[in-house]
């Protein structure tokens, strides 16, 4: 699946985008977040406080309990500040 990071999450992970193969037992956003945190200290720091993070699955706002699948595009970002 394709993971996107924006704003401070992009800076802390050092990545705008990465393609990952999450283990099959990961079925929702919450599980994905926990797994992504194991990928390195930047990821752990970026994803530490989930209350400060919003998520979109396939470009639609989603929640921690949203189900995910192998070909999804999942984006993490702070609350939007508007234009």
């Amino acid at each position: 699946m394709k993971i996107l990071y924006f704003a401070f999450l992009r800076q802390r992970t050092g990545l705008g985008e990465e393609t990952v193969n999450a283990p099959d037992e990961i079925q929702d956003v919450a599980g994905l977040v926990e797994w992504l945190k194991t990928r390195g200290p930047g990821h752990a720091e970026a994803l530490r406080d989930v209350s400060a993070i919003r998520v979109a699955v396939n470009q639609e706002f989603a929640g921690m309990d949203t189900a995910i699948a192998a070909n999804d595009e999942i984006a993490f970002f702070p609350p939007v500040t508007g234009g």
Binding site: P79, V80, T81, G82, G83
Partner: protein, 157 residues
């Protein structure tokens, strides 16, 4: 019914002229132009960078534009939003709504800019004398946008 998310500047006069060219059914065109201010909160800023989510941003902008078209009798709508590094005085955002009736144009323009200023998927990195920082979402702006969920469109009644 146009949405543009672009790095380039835009020409307000040319955009309005294109929207109204050859039309004699449009009575009013409401426009909101947003510019970068040199003050944010209490802080002086030297520049800001707008980051966005390409693809999702365009989708969300087209969606809110479609909502405005349902609520008001509009002949034309246009949203242009820039991203990238902008300096004080630079144009950021343009909303244009055109209708036979001025209330419909004015209300829908306010509706769209309230939404854009609060809900559009952009993130702002401000540059100040103390360095750079990401702007956090503001409560007061959120209220302005939430208002529209409660108030039925006057002009559409």
């Amino acid at each position: 019914m146009t949405v543009k998310v672009q790095r380039e500047d835009f020409d307000v006069g040319a955009e309005i002229a294109a929207l109204t060219a050859g039309r004699s059914d449009i009575g009013g065109v409401a426009t909101f132009l947003g510019l970068v201010r040199d003050i944010a909160g209490d802080e002086e800023i030297s520049a800001m960078t707008l980051e966005h989510y390409p693809g999702m941003t365009e989708k969300m902008l087209a969606d809110i534009e479609a909502q405005a078209l349902v609520r008001w009798p509009l002949d034309e709508t246009l949203i242009i939003h820039r991203y990238g590094r902008l300096e004080p005085g630079d144009r950021i955002v343009l909303v244009v709504t055109a209708s036979a009736h001025r209330k419909a144009a004015l209300e829908s323009c306010e509706f769209l800019i309230d939404w854009l200023k609060t809900r559009a998927p952009f993130w702002k990195l401000e540059e100040t004398g103390q360095g750079e920082h990401w702007v956090e979402a503001r409560e007061s702006d959120d209220e302005a946008a939430t208002r529209w969920n409660k108030t039925p469109a006057k002009a559409a009644q």
